[in-house]
């Protein structure tokens, strides 16, 4: 069990590291057009081949990873942080605050995240910041709901009661007592959310409402390769496989954590 955890973690770290160190791994401009070398299949000079404008697909995949992964991590952390705090407060304070917050979360569930994302991007324009904001907004409700449920079951426990009897203020109880105990669930949720967010961003980029060309992103690259499925399969396939590998590893790690197999306990 532990060995599998290490392998998955290793692959994930490798992908992330490759993206971070992209400029050093592949010191080529991802947007550099070279019309004399279009549609080269994967080989020694171009590990992932080149696209219709002669751009090196490997470099673009790495840089695309930078964008896609940084959007994913930011959005997940933001959604997680705000969602968790909201959920904890909601569980702890109860009453009108709780009722209102749950209505708001329900409203958020009334619209598929993609639509909400498309709306906001359509209104405010497709910049990377906006995408992060949009994905966060579409996602925080999940955290709020689940953490709230956890906290509700914790609230009745004796150690919380003792803190309240001692006169602790709500925010203090939440921070010092509730938060550490939902940490496990929170960590699992964060990990499982990465895959979802990567999907969301990829879908947005795929339909043209995400990262705009010529900047590379995995979703965008898959979209670009659509028309060349039979002639230049590597354009869509390779970035797609990297995406799948990333999501697969983070999902599996999240599930291992859920089952309590994680090393970092």
């Amino acid at each position: 069990m532990k060995a599998r955890f290490v392998v998955l973690g290793g692959v994930l770290v490798a992908i992330v590291a490759a993206s971070v160190f992209a400029p050093w791994l592949s010191p080529v401009d991802p947007n550099a057009i070279d019309l004399s070398a279009t549609f080269q299949s994967p080989g020694w000079h171009h590990w992932f081949g080149t696209d219709q404008m002669g751009r090196d697909v490997f470099t673009r995949t790495l840089y695309g990873g930078r964008i896609s992964l940084s959007i994913a991590f930011c959005a997940v952390l933001l959604a997680g942080f705000f969602g968790a705090i909201a959920g904890l407060l909601s569980a702890y304070l109860g009453g009108a605050f709780d009722a209102t917050l749950m209505r708001v979360v329900d409203a958020q569930y009334a619209l598929p995240p993609v639509f909400l994302a498309m709306l906001i991007v359509g209104i405010c324009g497709p910049s990377v910041t906006n995408i992060v904001i949009v994905v966060t907004l579409a996602n925080w409700g999940r955290f709020a709901r689940i953490i709230r449920a956890e906290a509700l079951s914790l609230r009745e426990r004796d150690f919380i009661l003792i803190a309240r009897l001692a006169g602790a203020k709500p925010l203090y109880v939440v921070w010092r007592h509730l938060l550490p105990n939902v940490r496990n669930t929170f960590a699992v949720l964060l990990t499982l959310d990465i895959g979802l967010v990567i999907f969301m961003e990829a879908a947005l980029s795929f339909v043209g409402l995400g990262v705009q060309p010529p900047d590379p992103s995995w979703g965008g690259m898959i979209a670009d390769g659509r028309n060349y499925l039979d002639t230049a399969w590597w354009l869509s396939a390779l970035p797609g496989l990297v995406l799948i590998a990333t999501v697969l590893c983070s999902n599996r790690i999240g599930e291992s954590l859920q089952r309590g197999e994680g090393a970092a306990r």
Binding site: R103, Y109, A110, P112, V114, F115, R226, L229, G240, N251
Partner: protein, 306 residues
Amino acid sequence: MLAYVLRRLGSALVTVWLMSMLIFLLVRMVGDPAYLLMPPEATEADRQLFREQLGLADPVPLQYARFLLGMLRGDMGNSFHFGAPALSMALTRLGSSLVLVGISLALALIVGLAMGVASAVRRDGWIDRFNTLFAVLGQAAPPFFVALLLIRLFSVQWGWLPTGGYGSWRHLILPVCALAWYSAAGIARLTRANMLTVLDADYIRMARIKGLPEHVVIGTHALRNAALPIVAFTASQFGVLIGGAVAIETVFSWPGFGSLMVEAISTLDFTVVQAAVIVSVLLFVSINLAVDVLYAVVDPRIRYRT
């Protein structure tokens, strides 16, 4: 039971109302349509006329009231671009998306349940291993990517199925498979997990002690108790698939709801966007309501407790 349903219904209506306000405000935030939709040479007088025609010159609360009343009457204005009633456009396109999503979800549920139950009953057997692989891959591959792979294989390479379009059952197969895989994966895993938990319970042991045939033990006792979270999950997948259908519709040129949204947003056709959002909200709120009621029907403890 009735009290429970009414309470949920009230909740749902509040949500719809909140969302209508939200979309109303959002759309108005984009900017003045008189500037966005008219050519730059238009005069101020023209713009003012345009505004008055669309009722945009009135105070905002009045506009909202009119919007709300219109919504209740079924009139949500006409598309800026096509002139056709926005609501009927939204509904037609929704219809074709629902066909796609509905069939995908049904397929996903059947396949997912079967795989999950088979995995739980023959735990760690070869069928369990295969199902786990299927599920793990299904949840890691974005449907639109799967769609491209399927097209590459079945349309381009072997020419069995069309690459896109709308019309016959052949056009349905690839998009449905692409969408269904993702949901089937989630359903299979959830079913397996729930069934395993339930199968350890005392009442399952009791059912066997009674000498009941195994199919009754698994079907009537185990699956029924494992079912509720699966139902809720499947309902939530509906929303996920409608969202996922956006990209799929683009890949297969399927004239659906998602592509309507994309077009309407790209062309700043506000009435259509409004109509689409309201329709979408109504749909999801209804589904969630139906799930809540279904929960109460299946699990008697819920209706007696709340």
